[in-house]
């Protein structure tokens, strides 16, 4: 039973890797299980999220289920 977090751009450095498998559940619980510095970086104001490839407009109420992929997207630096 796992869900997957994806870390883009500089968040990959903060997380020490491009992805991480986590136990499914409410996003708050998933983040609470991470290192505090990483959790703070992931919740940065300019970091957006995509759940299974779909951008999320609201951060509240996200619950990760088995097989879900949640990506954290810092500001892009373009072409």
């Amino acid at each position: 039973m796992t869900a997957r977090l994806i870390f883009l751009g500089r968040l990959e450095d903060a997380a020490g890797g491009a992805e991480r498998d986590v136990t499914p559940g409410p996003l708050e619980a998933v983040l609470a299980a991470l290192a505090p510095d990483l959790a703070v970086a992931l919740l940065g104001e300019r970091v957006r999220m995509a759940l299974n490839g779909v951008l999320i407009a609201e951060r509240g109420g996200i619950v990760l289920r088995e097989g879900d992929e949640l990506a954290f997207l810092p500001p892009v630096s373009g072409g």
């Binding site: 751009g9 500089r10 995509a50 990506a71 997207l73 892009v76 630096s77 072409g79």
Partner: protein, 143 residues
């Protein structure tokens, strides 16, 4: 509209695009390439589930906003050396003004709204590149 993870030849791509649009009055292209400035390598990372749909959406906006005969968007991913092409955008239209505007718009939005993250290696160390203020400034022109 393509993402490619190997080097490409802009002149060959333009030759094919020109040949496909021999009836268009004008073709505007932009080619961006890796500037040297001391970096040994540039790496372009992207998030596939967003990147291609994002470029498709941008192409649709361009097609709706201007009268185009064709639009090409080509973007490199992976690791690039100085001088290698990163991006090629080309717009073919009956009217020059339309082709210029579409290519300009597509580049402004590719630069600041597409899902690419860059880092560069200097003296053996990788550094992420933050977005520049003038990337956002470009967008304000189109509101």
């Amino acid at each position: 509209m393509r993402l490619i993870d190997l080097p490409f030849d802009p002149a060959r791509e333009m030759a094919a695009f020109n040949a496909a649009h021999a009836a268009a009055g004008g073709i505007v292209s932009f080619m961006g390439q890796v500037r040297g400035q001391g970096a040994e390598l540039l790496e372009l990372r992207h998030y596939a589930p967003l990147t291609l749909p994002g470029m498709s959406a941008l192409a649709q906006v361009c097609a709706a906003r201007w009268q185009l005969d064709g639009l090409l968007m080509l973007h490199r991913t992976g690791r690039l050396s100085p001088g290698e092409p990163i991006v090629l955008v080309a717009a073919a239209a009956a009217h020059r003004r339309q082709a210029f505007a579409a290519a300009d718009y597509a580049m402004d939005h590719l630069k600041s709204e597409s899902w690419f993250w860059k880092r560069e290696r200097r003296a053996g160390q990788w550094h992420w590149i933050e977005p520049r203020a003038d990337d956002y400034g470009g967008l304000a022109r189109w509101v």
